[in-house]
């Protein structure tokens, strides 16, 4: 499992934030391009942006940096792709959502609830023999949480794949403070 320091020193993954026209088939175009050029997608998340004409696809790829340049250029050739930014994992904030149903007898349920509270997760549903919890946060934090839940017996687990935005640099942060919300 990747520790935080490992992730910091050796980014083994790349995050591509791809702004696309919100049109039918655009996801298929993007994902089949990866398949066609022999790249593996580690995770992928799509959602509309503030502009209803555009969607943002956040793709996490495991690759060396030089072939990444090629896939980025190929991606950019897709007519529906408007903008691509590569987010350096060290300079971006990444978030992901995890939901899990864990099998626990009623007497042990308290341990899972406690664990969830420590991680600042949520209890979504409680049954006689099982409990469903959710957690959003950095992928590393989700990894840790998942590992701990495993000890109880995960019945079902779903992760969204990460979304990411660049970290605001010092100047931008200060500006944001000075001028309030960006207009």
């Amino acid at each position: 499992m990747s520790s935080t320091t490992h992730a910091l020193n050796q980014p083994t993954h790349h995050i591509l934030s791809v702004l696309v026209q919100n049109r039918p088939g655009v996801l298929a175009r993007v994902s089949s391009l990866f398949a066609r050029r022999g790249y593996n997608i580690f995770s992928l998340a799509v959602a509309p942006t503030e502009d209803p004409m555009l969607s943002r696809i956040t793709i996490v790829v495991d690759v060396e940096s030089s072939p990444l340049e090629q896939i980025v250029k190929q991606l950019f050739k897709l007519v529906d792709v408007v903008k691509i930014s590569e987010l350096d994992p060290r300079r971006s904030v990444e978030r992901e959502l995890l939901m899990a149903t864990v099998r626990v007898p009623a007497e042990d349920r308290g341990q899972v609830v406690e664990l969830t509270n420590i991680f600042e997760g949520k209890i979504l549903a409680v049954g006689v023999e099982a409990i469903t919890v959710s957690l959003d946060g950095s992928p590393d934090k989700l990894d840790d949480f998942e590992e701990l839940l495993r000890g109880y017996g995960i019945v079902e687990l779903q992760r969204t794949g990460r979304v990411a935005l660049p970290k605001l640099d010092k100047e931008a942060r200060l500006k944001a403070v000075k001028h309030g919300k960006a207009s």
Binding site: V20, Q21, P24, G25, A28, R29, S32, L33, R36, E69, Q70, K73, Q74, F76, K77, L78, V79, D80, V81, V82, K83
Partner: protein, 584 residues
């Protein structure tokens, strides 16, 4: 004022407004509505015998005119028949617009009769494709298709049109250029090269001691042949023209070294290998050019001009990458060089390099052993005779195999857009339909198709199209009774173990077949018959002619850089091998 018409009428009107003069196609259920307004249109429709033929005809047309070729076919099997030409056009950057019928929108996804996921199937073999879901979208989609197919790196675009979209009525509106551009926020090809990179390229060119101009098919796409010539003459630097660039620089120009690559000539291959600067113009370091990449032109710096940023650094990292249109960039480079020269800078003396190159040319001309009386006819001899007998301005098309390589080697291409072949995909069956398309595009020119006996049998039926539509072409079949190129590999790399490459010397009877398709058929078996047959073929203008040359099955294409070999280890014709040491 808007006017209600059907989606089909809008489609045909849009094609007219895009200045389409010819559509190659074949109708069927789902595309039927589009064929009705076609009856009232000035656009010529050429009815093919197989949809693959329509696609290659559109390619041949585009090759020689520079205008996008247009093909129109129905859904399902017709669309799948179109996959090969689309891929061919994609690999060779041929502008093409293909329209396919589709089942009605309500039936999409139900496995309806002749439904297939055309957009899904063709996604990776088109520059772009679209399923049109509303008749109102037809004009904009057509405009987008032509814009995308013809700008940037050209390529095929497919529009899939459901039957009800063709039938429904719509409000006609012809979008302005601005509307088209605004509708494509993610499509902005860069055409002007970066000024700093251009300056750097100019300086590097003047500093080079052993420069070579490496010209690819992009020169032709960018209509940059004149610019290339001006640059070559300005810096007095030899030019190699890749398989896709034959004709981009005249073969009879003293600076022209001809074709490099797997079956290039020894001089072109070696000059690239030994150069200290490859001025790469619209070429993409294809594996058939580089041989083993790790040992390709090891001492060369690279200037790489290409309109497609993804080609920069894909195979070989350039020292000076320039993204832009070849013509515009070359013109800027010329200007930058002249500025430096006017400012008192001098170009390196490259006379030693040039004399070394001339030495190779003298030592290693293209070579085949001459026909001895009574021996089987040499295919290279047939090509030389075809070349020498060809009327001025003849366009040459070819299939894929040995005959293709000999065509490229032995023809003299002195004019751009006179060579039509399938380079990237290597599609057997390309030549006959491509030649028909070329003749439609340039009816004023003689069009010869050099084909193999194997290739010809894949698409020969289009000669019926040629006869019925009165499109007279000439076909030279180099019949060696073999899938010759594959036979050559088996001879050389599989210890002469011939597996499934022997066709038949007698079957089919090409002359009778030609006659049955409305063509004149001529058979040539001995060297004496070659010239008269070619003369006769050239004298016939009112119908297509097929000349079958029965040629030596054992002849191999040389030189050869076998796949995975270094260009340093090019195999020469055995008779030239004694002089190998001169290749330094």
């Amino acid at each position: 004022m808007t006017q209600k018409i059907t989606g089909a009428q809008a489609l045909i009107r849009a094609l007219e407004l895009e200045n389409v003069d010819t559509i190659f196609g074949l109708p069927g259920g789902c595309i039927l509505p589009a064929y009705d307004p076609l009856l009232d249109s000035p656009i010529r429709h050429i009815l093919v015998r197989h949809e693959q033929g329509a696609g290659h005809m559109a390619e041949g047309y585009a090759h020689v005119t520079g205008r996008p070729g247009v093909a129109m076919v129905t859904s399902g099997p017709a669309a799948t028949n179109m996959v090969t030409p689309l891929c061919d056009a994609y690999m060779d950057s041929i502008p093409m617009v293909c329209i396919t019928g589709q089942v009605p929108t309500s039936a999409i996804g139900t496995d309806a009769f002749q439904e297939c996921d055309t957009v899904g199937i063709t996604r990776s073999v088109t520059k772009h494709n679209e399923l049109i879901m509303s008749a109102d979208d037809v004009p904009l989609m057509v405009r987008q298709a032509f814009h995308i197919a013809t700008t940037g790196r050209p390529g095929p675009v497919l529009l899939d049109v459901p039957k009800d979209v063709l039938q429904n009525s719509m409000n006609w509106h012809w979008p302005s250029d601005e509307e088209v551009l605004d509708s494509l926020p993610g499509y902005k090809p860069v055409t002007k090269g970066h000024p700093r990179m251009i300056k750097e390229a100019a300086r590097m060119i003047l500093d080079a001691k052993q420069p070579i101009l490496y010209a690819g098919g992009g020169i032709l796409k960018a209509r940059a042949a004149d610019a290339l010539r001006e640059l070559a003459e300005l810096i007095d630097t030899p030019v190699v023209t890749t398989l896709m660039a034959r004709g981009a620089f005249p073969d009879d120009h003293p600076l022209c070294l001809g074709m490099p690559g797997m079956h290039g000539n020894a001089t072109a291959i070696t000059a690239m290998q030994k150069s200290d600067l490859l001025i790469t113009l619209g070429a993409r370091f294809d594996d058939r050019i580089t041989g083993k990449v790790a040992t390709f032109a090891p001492d060369a710096k690279i200037i790489h001009v290409d309109i497609d940023p993804a080609e920069q650094g894909k195979v070989r990292r350039p020292d000076v990458p320039i993204v832009g249109d070849c013509r515009l960039v070359i013109e800027e480079i010329i200007k930058a060089i002249k500025d430096l020269l006017n400012g008192g800078e001098k170009q390196q003396d490259i006379s030693q390099w040039k004399s070394r190159v001339s030495g190779w040319r003298e030592q290693f001309p293209l070579y085949y052993p001459a026909n001895e009386p009574g021996e089987a006819l040499k295919p290279q001899y047939c090509l030389e005779q075809l070349r020498d007998g060809a009327p001025e301005g003849t366009i040459l098309c070819s299939g894929v195999g040995q005959h293709q390589m000999w065509s490229s080697q032995y023809w003299k291409f002195n004019e751009p857009y006179t060579w039509v072949n399938s380079g990237g995909l290597g599609t057997m069956g390309f030549s006959v339909p491509a030649a028909i398309g070329a003749k439609v595009g340039r009816p004023d020119r003689t069009v010869w198709a050099v084909d193999g006996d194997g290739c010809f049998q894949m698409t020969a039926q289009e000669l019926v199209t040629a006869s019925v539509e009165r499109i007279p072409i000439k076909v030279a079949i180099l019949n060696n009774s073999y899938l010759g190129m594959v036979r050559q590999w088996q001879e050389m790399f599989y210890e002469e173990r011939y597996s499934e490459v022997y066709l038949s010397p007698e079957l089919p009877d090409f002359v009778k077949w030609a006659e049955s398709m409305g063509c004149i058929g001529i058979r040539v078996e001995s060297p004496e018959e070659v010239q008269p047959a070619i003369e006769k073929a050239n004298s016939i203008d009112d119908r297509s002619v097929v000349v079958e040359f029965r040629v030596d099955a054992g002849e191999k294409v040389f030189p050869m850089v076998p796949a995975g070999f270094s260009n340093d280890d090019v195999l020469l014709h055995p008779d030239q091998n004694g002089r190998r040491e001169f290749l330094r």
